[in-house]
């Protein structure tokens, strides 16, 4: 269960006299602050800082802790990611530390001109004196704190548990933290730092590992696997197996136990619409629609034909008139007259007249007959070739609208295939994965191919000028190189344009006349358009904590351990795993007692709080005067005496 942040501003700051110390547990993951003597810290938050810009005003603001997206939408976070003051488990960025302390004291309700309480703050084991002194300086100078004490969080937790009887005064504490894991032996209630050991693996590394594995296994959904999501998954579902290899074998064999432990995570998915075979009435309805379409086409053709017939009738009338005129005009003048009016030989005109008559009278009749008539009687095919063309056109579109449609569809398919082929060649490059990822890789490869081409041009063409000297640019022709380069780049894209234009034309025509035609979406080749992420099958959450690096247990006689795991915290199975591991190392038959801290998360703070509440606390803390007078050497050797607890 994840750790919850508490950041409400406290109102009772003024009720505490200046003798009450403030206790701070400054961890790489979470920051806890509260009053000495209490059992719960007052303010808890994630130890990170963001400095985004406010979208409306443009000023840079500071936000401490983890905030949900609801609040963050007011800010422009592109230039500022969350930053931590820690490098591994040591504080090094004191500007960020200052922001954090500002926020913490503010939430604790601090007011007045300085923080007038002694402060107990936690640090890591073996904290470098540089970090320690900078922290002390920050507290004394900026916040006006009267006295400061440093302690190790794991030790506080151990002492707290010891006080409550969970462990003895001799023992070893194992503290897996956010970025590191420590083991600290205790002798007679005091920690032996010389014997302690640190491994640089912590909860952060585990979460990161999980995140990377998931991203690799499901590259299509990689955007879902954020660090926070991986952390959530880890806290909820992961466990530590007592023996990794045998556990893995169980999963490999697919035993029932393994099945129970497997967790599935289903992503939202819309199934593609199923192709139901059309029912009777569907078919009938579609047939009716098609019939109607055919009918409409026929009517359109009819209308066109009748308008054409009207035209022809008009021509007929004019020709009649011409013929009459011819009769009236003299024989000699006929050629000239005819050439004026632009019609053919008189005889031909006459023949045409007859046919025109018959044609006009039969215009309302069967379309076939009319065209036949024209064909039979017409010697003037050559002279009036357009007539035939018109009739053929008319015939096709009026008789067989469906046939026309089929032809169009076939053409469309052809052109579409050609275009898609070209696209596929472009994007697929040499990668023949067939995965969805290939699209991305292909595009990247294509880009780099073009880029490579440009580089090649630049280097070769520009190079072979002058013997060893770079005289590129001396001649005007040299600059044509750039034209060449950019042209190369463009040519690539312009070639399929003709095909695409054809495609566009065909598809628009088809859309007009075909009721069942659907425009093929310009999606990635190989994917149905508009499909949401598909079913996400299993994510097996069988986890091993790969603390494959064995934790070294130093200082062998103590064989009692107390585990205070804060970040790996509710991981079930840690205790058993430790027991197994230690049993392997220790001589056979020795007693092993592994104990888990009462509350792995808060015990450190509680221990610190109890320590600070003790009357002798001030003896352990150092004041500003001490800090400046005694110097760095003293600060290096400074340790608090834990046995007062």
């Amino acid at each position: 269960m994840p750790i919850v942040s508490k950041t409400r501003r406290q109102t009772d700051y003024n009720l505490f006299p200046p003798s009450v110390p403030i206790v701070i547990d400054n961890g790489a993951s979470y920051f806890r602050i509260g009053w000495a003597g209490e059992t719960e810290p007052r303010v808890v938050f994630r130890n990170i800082v963001q400095r985004p810009r406010h979208k409306a005003t443009g000023e840079t603001v500071t936000i401490v802790g983890d905030q949900g997206p609801a609040m963050m939408k007011f800010f422009d976070c592109t230039r500022s990611g969350p930053r931590s003051a820690f490098d591994s488990n040591v504080v090094y960025q004191f500007e960020i530390m200052e922001y954090i302390l500002d926020f913490a004291f503010d939430r604790l309700g601090a007011s007045g001109s300085a923080i007038d309480h002694p402060i107990l703050i936690t640090e890591c084991v073996g904290n470098p004196v540089y970090s320690r002194s900078k922290m002390a300086e920050l507290l004394f100078e900026t916040y006006g704190v009267p006295s400061v004490a440093f302690g190790v969080d794991a030790v506080f937790s151990y002492k707290y548990n010891q006080r409550h009887g969970k462990c003895q005064k001799d023992g070893i504490v194992i503290c897996p933290g956010f970025t590191t894991t420590h083991t600290i032996p205790f002798v007679d209630g005091e920690p032996v730092y010389k014997g302690s050991c640190r491994t640089n693996i912590g909860g952060y590394h585990v979460t990161d590992y999980l995140k990377q594995l998931l991203s690799l296994k499901y590259p299509f959904h990689s955007s879902i696997f954020t660090w926070e999501k991986a952390e959530e998954l880890k806290l909820e579902h992961c466990y530590i197996a007592p023996d990794y290899v045998s556990e893995a074998r169980k999963f490999q064999e697919g035993t029932k136990e393994a099945e129970e432990k497997t967790r599935y995570w289903q992503l939202p998915w819309i199934p593609p619409p199923i192709e139901v075979p059309p029912s009777e009435e569907e078919i009938a309805r579609k047939a009716a629609i098609r019939e109607k379409q055919g009918q409409r086409l026929r009517e359109m053709a009819e209308a066109k034909r009748s308008s054409k017939i009207n035209e022809m009738e008009n021509e007929l009338h004019s020709l009649h008139f011409l013929v009459k005129q011819l009769d009236q005009v003299e024989e000699d003048d006929i050629p000239s007259f005819l050439s004026d009016t632009g019609s053919g030989v008189q005889a031909r005109a006459g023949v045409y007249c007859l046919e025109g008559d018959t044609g006009a009278s039969k215009s309302k009749g069967e379309p076939k007959d009319e065209t036949d008539e024209f064909e039979e009687n017409n010697d003037s095919n050559e002279k009036y070739p357009l007539i035939n063309v018109r009739t053929i056109c008319l015939r096709l579109s009026s008789e067989n609208p469906e046939f026309y449609l089929e032809e169009m569809r076939a053409q469309y398919k052809e052109v579409l295939e050609r275009v898609e082929q070209k696209k596929r060649l472009k994007t697929n490059g040499s990668n023949t994965n067939g995965n969805q990822k290939s699209g991305n890789v292909g595009r990247g490869e294509r880009l780099s191919a073009a880029k490579r081409e440009r580089m090649r041009l630049l280097t070769t063409a520009a190079f072979d000028r002058g013997k060893g000297e770079d005289t590129f640019g001396a001649k005007d022709e040299d600059w044509q190189l750039y034209k060449l380069m950019s042209k190369d780049h463009d040519e690539d894209d312009e070639r399929p344009d003709s095909d695409e234009a054809e495609l566009a034309r065909l598809s628009s025509r088809l859309q007009e006349i075909d009721p069942t035609f659907e425009l093929k979406a310009e999606g990635e080749p190989g994917q149905a358009s508009g499909e949401a992420p598909r079913v996400r099958p299993l994510t097996e959450e069988d986890y091993k904590i790969v603390i494959g690096v064995e934790i070294q247990v130093v200082g062998g006689e103590a064989n009692e351990l107390d585990t205070d795991d804060r970040w790996v915290q509710p991981c079930p199975g840690l205790k058993e795993r430790l027991e197994c591991g230690i049993r392997m190392i220790r001589p056979c038959g020795s007693t092993i007692n592994v104990v888990q801290a009462k509350d792995p998360v808060l015990d450190a703070w509680r221990g610190a709080s109890a320590f600070a509440a003790d009357l002798n606390f001030l003896g352990n803390a150092f004041t500003k005067k001490d800090y400046y007078e005694k110097g760095e050497e003293w600060l290096r050797r400074y340790q608090i005496g834990y046995n007062t607890l």
């Binding site: 591994s88 073996g126 470098p128 100078e141 490999q252 995965n435 790969v546």
Partner: protein, 118 residues
């Protein structure tokens, strides 16, 4: 400041009464890079032999390395000669061979086994 933002009160106020010098005075804009020493530099500067931080660090484990399959997490007795990835059985091997170079490199780098020059 929008109404709900002000109510949520998540922004650190610019001026705090209990501070002697405010943050914006101390850290003028545009100077944050390169101001603070990283841990490595801190440790290098700290040459005193009694300094604990470096001494405490544990040496690498003397136990032999557990051979775990890179893709599935099972026990992996075999190694692919071409990519140097570990795999558990023939089925996994098939998927291994279909991975892109980028993925292979990623798997290896998780294990700290990625070659330095691609």
């Amino acid at each position: 400041m929008e109404a709900e933002l002000a109510e949520a009160d998540i922004v650190v106020p610019m001026h705090l009464s209990f501070k002697k010098t405010q943050a914006y005075e101390k850290y003028p804009k545009g100077q944050s890079r390169g101001r603070w020493k990283h841990l490595k530099q801190i440790l290098q500067a700290d040459l005193d032999p009694s300094s604990f931080y470096i001494n405490i660090e544990s040496p690498p484990s003397t136990q032999p390395c557990k051979r775990i399959c890179d893709v599935t997490g099972f026990e992996a007795p075999y190694v692919d000669p071409r990519t140097n990835l570990r795999y558990a059985n023939a089925h996994v091997f098939k998927t291994l061979r279909s991975l892109s170079t980028h993925q292979v490199h990623h798997y290896l780098s998780i294990r700290n086994a990625a070659p330095l020059l691609k």
